[in-house]
Symmetry: C2
Subunit: 143 residues, 2 copies
DNA sequence: TCCTTATTCAGACTGAGTCTTAATAAGGAA
DNA sequence: TTCCTTATTAAGACTCAGTCTGAATAAGGA
């Protein structure tokens, strides 16, 4: 029984005076074990396939909570959707997005991260997340 | 009469075997003189106010053309809209976006730009534009 | 001038994200 | 435990940025 796993999350909820509901804990567990990028509808579909009954609306309502708790982070945006991923799985990274084949390549650069932090400080800006994606055409799609 | 102004644009159209229509040239001129950030519906509204009759669809259809010709560039995205700005007006920059007051602060960092270029080269990726925004809460909104 | 075909317009459509309302359940008080 | 207040939930309607369709128009080559 991994009671400990969602301990941090329910602590977070209490700290924020949000109610610790079974729904939220189940959502937390379900989301935490997802791999790769997902949009909301994709997430709901996956969770259903895994036998977890959650409504789309429930996910949308709790998105800010999951983001603030650091359970997920925003990954990248296409014209249509916003994609997320479970944050605990791996360290932060940014994305190259091929608009032709929709494939995504991850990159991370500690120098860029550091410079970003400095910029935020300079403007006295509390950054909650950032979106950094290079959009274009990958090698394959250029033939 | 600044005939020369849209010369580059009509050359671009010809090079791409796209038809040089009065509509497109008018759109080009209208868009070029806009200042600040705008989304599509806002742009259409502004152009109407300035006496230029363009349909929303016309703008959407020609968005890729204007982007590729370098007339506008993508600026930042909110949950709902994508914002653009006339590119010729000023040099490239990125954005801090306050999700509370929706205000936008511009920043630019040549080192980050350079590092991005290197990353794109490493993955042999032809970058058409990039989206780099730090989302959070500005000084004022934190009281 | 004619003909082909890209472009334009009007308006319907799609779907991500939001909102409403009634029902439910968390958690504090006694 | 029981009751009560109030946040949360489910279902489904709604909004509106962006896309698509089909008919009318006009660019540009022959």
């Amino acid at each position: 029984m991994p009671k400990k796993k969602n301990g941090h999350f329910s602590d977070f909820l209490k700290r924020k005076s949000l109610r610790v509901t079974g729904e939220r804990l189940r959502l937390f567990e379900g989301v935490s074990r997802q791999r790769g990028h997902f949009n909301v509808d994709g997430l709901v579909r996956r969770l259903h396939e895994q036998g977890l009954r959650v409504s789309r609306d429930m996910v949308y309502r709790n998105l800010p909570v999951l983001l603030e708790a650091g359970v997920i982070e925003q990954s990248f945006k296409t014209n249509r959707d916003t994609f997320y991923e479970a944050a605990a799985r791996k360290k932060h990274h940014d994305h190259l997005y091929c608009r032709t084949c929709n494939r995504v390549v991850e990159f991370s650069d500690p120098v860029i991260e550091e410079l970003q932090k400095k910029i935020a400080e300079r403007f006295d800006f509390k950054v909650e997340f950032h979106c950094h994606q290079l959009v274009g055409v990958c090698k394959k799609c250029r033939k």
